[in-house]
Amino acid sequence: MAEKHKFLEVKGLTMDFGGLRAVDSVSLEVCEGEIAALIGPNGAGKTTFFNCVTGIYTPTQGEILLHPKELPTRRLNGLKPNKVTEMGLARTFQNIRLFSDMTVLENVMIGRHCRTHSGIFRSILRGKGVREEEQQIVETSYQLLEKVGLADFATEFSKNLPYGAQRRLEIARAMATEPFLLLLDEPAAGMNPQETAELDQLICKISAEDRIAILLIEHDMKLVMNISNHIYVMEYGKKIAEGSPQQIKDNPKVIEAYLGEETDA
């Protein structure tokens, strides 16, 4: 681990909502080329953690540091979500948040927004540069759709897509922002085994081909154990364990907190 380049470094992140401590000094690292997973029972604070990292919430305490490869280290605390995305950290949402009245292609094109520059006046004049940029946006977006296997749906409205496809579209949209770190919030939720298997392949492909590090929240243990290199476990806002999939499987604390609860239910 030591010689690998750390992309994301979170130190002692704490998030309070009034008297409720949703995340309690959680530390976490995601390295280059890694697929890390954040697991834990419902309400453990995983999504809150994501929201802190991506700028939707400003954390009460702690440090969120992003180390891009070419650029200097940036502290993400209190940065607006769009700035965080510009830094190269994209995300998907647990409850799908697509632009439902836009086509599938347009959804991905929105992701290109922060990497393109035509302003109001240039858009009105619509010169050669703007037209070329527009075409570039369309082509890149289409290629991303091909990558996630949604090219045939390009002109559909995103609200008409099946559930699994909507999840993949969210990934494509996030990738359009050219991130080096991708946060996936329960990408397999509500998917059938077939779709989950496809998602498994897709995530591995993104990690291997695009060299994007991935941090995912997931409840599907099979998927998590299959693809992740490093797993963090949270319960009641605290990190209770971390390690390789095998270490996590054998960790009694995790079994008690997580798997134990499942047998109870």
Binding site: K80, T103, H113, Y142, F157
Partner: protein, 408 residues
């Protein structure tokens, strides 16, 4: 068939119920002077027939609406013939050319009165297209839009009164001032959404009107400003008819300009950001779109058109006072956008013509104007919530598109 029979039965029941309800009012009449009771059986027949037809029509429309919704939900929605026709580029260009020619010969074929009505309709077209950016595209409900119109009108009236500045000098200035006020309004309400946003914009509209009414030193109060110069044309003196025609042509040019610019904006990176903001604010921000900037640009660019057309309004009427900028105006402009179809440029244009021209040509029924207006809005929202013409989607060409590979 059984469905139809059921609807039929229901309608008969409703009509009987109405007959029963209106019986004492419509049928029985007591003549007190002669102590006689009159039975007006014909009225009963009319009530029965009327309520039956209306109820049946209502049910039929609702059923159709439901069926269409079901199809739309299943994703197998077939585009209507109108939409298909409108999406055909060659047809669109031809139609535009024909319309433009018609618009250009209009004042020569009709009298000054017709031209004046047409000018006010065109003013509302521009207003509608401007508000369409804020409400239709960016989804920011604005109930005080007329304030920007007032800003434009007063900026010309005052600059003309005090400094003798001409129409053409102030025209862009009015737009820019509108823009500025849009940004001034935009800043404090960046965080607001939905109902709260609507209330604040409503308040803003009120504030502007009240300031204009009461700050007499600045705006001459309710008595307004008179004798504003008409637009000049290289110092040529024009009579009323001539200058009306001249303003009409300016207005046509302005509408064409507005359509061109708003169309390009909508189909640009900025326009997509607006639509994304309307669809989902959080996702929009998470995709790297600067919310503050996008919202402010939507307000500013929406207000720009109101400011600019306000200048023309002042020049056309040569007299303005705060009474022209009431909440009712904001409501009408908003109705134009909603009735026409949110985000749809063609829809907004049609909406403006319908809402402004119909009342003009139906002067005979002017007492029922608000009634018809309200009824039309209610029916529209029930049966066609997307507006007269829903937004025409932009087509993109890319490699891998089967139909048009040669463009790739």
């Amino acid at each position: 068939m059984t469905d139809m029979l059921k609807e039929f039965k229901q309608s008969i029941l409703i009509s009987l119920w109405f007959v029963f309800l209106t019986f004492p009012l419509m049928v029985v009449r007591v003549n007190t002077t002669e102590s006689l009771v009159e039975w007006r059986w014909m009225n009963m027949v009319w009530v029965a027939l009327g309520s039956f037809i209306l109820s049946y029509l209502w049910r039929y429309m609702l059923a159709r609406q439901q069926a269409r919704k079901k199809v739309a939900d299943s994703g197998l929605e077939k585009q209507s013939k109108v939409t298909l026709l409108l999406e055909d580029a060659t047809f669109r260009y031809r139609a535009m050319a024909v319309l433009l020619v018609l618009a250009l010969i209009f004042p020569l074929a009709f009298d000054t009165y017709q031209s004046t009505i047409m000018i006010s309709a065109l003013i509302y077209v521009v207003l509608g297209l401007g508000l369409n950016i804020t409400v239709g595209l960016a989804g920011l409900l604005d109930l005080g839009y007329v304030a920007f119109f007032a800003v434009g009108a007063y900026s010309y009236a005052l600059l003309n009164h005090h400094f003798d500045l001409g129409f053409w000098t102030v025209l862009p200035l009015g737009g820019i001032l509108g823009c500025l006020f849009g940004i001034i309004l935009g800043f404090p309400i960046l965080r607001l959404r939905g109902d709260y946003l609507a209330i604040v914009t409503l308040g803003f509209g009120m504030i502007v009107k009240i300031v204009l009414e009461n700050w007499s030193d600045f705006s001459f109060g309710p008595s307004g400003i008179a004798q504003i110069d008409r637009p000049g044309l290289f110092g040529i003196d024009m009579d009323l008819a001539g200058s009306t025609i001249y303003i009409y042509y300016i207005m046509i040019a302005m509408v064409v300009f507005t359509i061109l610019v708003t169309m390009r904006l909508r189909n640009s990176r900025i326009g997509r950001a607006w639509i994304a903001l309307r669809e989902d604010e959080i996702a929009c921000v998470a995709m790297g779109i600067d919310m503050a900037r996008t919202k402010l640009s939507a307000y500013a660019l929406g207000a720009f058109w109101a400011g600019m057309v306000g200048v023309l309004f002042a020049a056309k009427t040569t007299f303005i006072n705060p009474a022209s900028f009431t909440f009712m105006e904001s409501a009408i402009i908003l109705s134009i956008v909603v009735l026409g179809g949110m985000g749809s440029i063609l829809g907004v244009i049609l909406g403006a013509f319908i809402l402004i021209l119909l009342p003009e040509y139906m002067r005979a029924f002017s007492e029922y104007r608000m009634l018809a207006f309200g009824a039309a809005m209610v029916l529209m929202m029930i049966f066609r919530p997307q507006g007269i013409i829903s937004n025409i989607r932009q087509k993109y060409e890319y490699k891998g598109l089967q139909k048009e590979t040669d463009n790739g």
